[in-house]
């Protein structure tokens, strides 16, 4: 969304639109007060519709700087319900074998309902995410992989950004449910992460419903 006050020129344009809109409302009101009200409702709905559907310029892709020793690789793993999934664990194990010296940080976004997010009622969501995370970290440790866990923001993209800014990963692994059952895929989380950061983003599909 673009602010109509993002620049002086945009604000000036918005002023001209306001003059035109209110001239219409006033003229319509003089003809009939209810017509004026109808024009006001229509214009307001139109303005809100245009505002919500316009897209701002896409932010440039961000460079993620490698930090730490040159031979060390850092992998940021982002997953929630799928965090203990077999496919994800094998993807992590694969990287541990391939990359040699590697550090893992597993981030579990504390998924929550919108209402609970708005009312800051997130204790239960964070506790559930922490529980899943602890189980996964323990499972990785049992096969000799050391990883650190972190409960992230409820918004997976924000959780990824937080992880990128603090951990500086060389790769991001995002685990989701299969297409059709994944809310993250529907929201384009993987695509958005690829667009935002210049590090490889691997998508691992975990099908929890498939019998093991």
């Amino acid at each position: 969304m673009e602010s109509p006050f993002r620049s002086e020129a945009a604000a000036f344009r918005f002023l001209l639109i306001t003059i035109g809109a209110f001239a219409l409302i006033v003229v319509a009101s003089w003809i009939d007060p209810w017509l004026g009200f109808a024009v006001w409702v229509l214009l307001t709905a139109g303005a809100v519709g245009v505002y919500l559907h316009q897209r701002g310029p896409r932010a440039p892709q961000e460079h993620v700087e490698h930090v730490g020793p040159a031979e060390e690789r850092r992998v940021l793993v982002v997953a929630n319900e799928t965090v203990g999934g077999k496919e994800l664990l094998s993807a992590i194990s694969e990287r541990a074998l391939q990359l040699g010296r590697v550090r893992f940080v597993v981030v579990c976004p504390a998924l929550n309902t919108r209402l609970k997010t708005w009312t800051s009622d997130e204790d239960a969501a964070r506790a559930a995410a922490q529980k899943r995370l602890d189980a996964t970290i323990a499972r990785l440790a049992s096969v000799g992989i050391e990883a650190r866990g972190e409960v992230g923001d409820a918004d997976p993209l924000v959780a990824i950004e937080d992880g990128v800014r603090t951990f500086h990963p060389d790769e991001v692994v995002i685990s989701t449910h299969p297409e059709g059952r994944s809310n993250w895929l529907e929201r384009g989380v993987v695509t958005a992460a690829r667009e935002r950061f210049d590090v490889p983003v691997t998508h691992v599909v975990v099908d929890l419903e498939r019998p093991s």
């Binding site: 620049s7 000036f12 007060p33 940080v105 937080d162 800014r165």
Partner: protein, 222 residues
Amino acid sequence: MTSHAEELHEHHGPPAAHKSSRVDARVLGMFLFIGSEIMLFGSFFTAYFFIRVANPDASTITPDAWQFWPPCKTPPVGGECTAGQYEFPVFVAGVNTAILVTSSFTMHWALQSIKRGQRPAFLAGMVLTFVMGLAFLLTQVIEYLHVGFNTGDGAFASVFFGLTGLHGAHVAVGLTLLGMVIIRGFRGHFSPEHHHGVELPGIYWHFVDIMWIVVYSTVYLL
């Protein structure tokens, strides 16, 4: 859970600013400002519409007087305002509106001029904007003196002075900002590359103008 800052940052100094929201700080600031202004003006408009539409007891004379807008000066007789209604100075406010709208054009001209490096035009535009803003404010003060009612003449008068006065206060703040731009402009500040100090007061000035269009249409014309 361990601290990220302690464990993961090998570089010296504080970590980079947290920007996960992806909203530019200046844009976010402007959003917050506009949001607070909408709430402020919204509360005054709510009071205005409540008094005008939903509260017939708001008249100091009699509820019957409230059937008219603006209300009757004395209790209506036989369903008519015998002493006439209070009047809003629609024409004077209309001229004032034209002045304020014109000042937005000169403001826009001033900014375009400094972007093109035309300093005399920039200064002329800023001075004209300031003079017109001042003219608007002085005309409003004169309007208050001759309007024919005061804050004690009922809720309609209170809300009239409240709404127009709130806007007048915004104009006064805008004039202060414009004054600072003019002083800096005459001291040689601003260039085609560096004119952020003109851009932001310009945005504010247009915002004040937009709010006046809403106030004038609602209070004087409708």
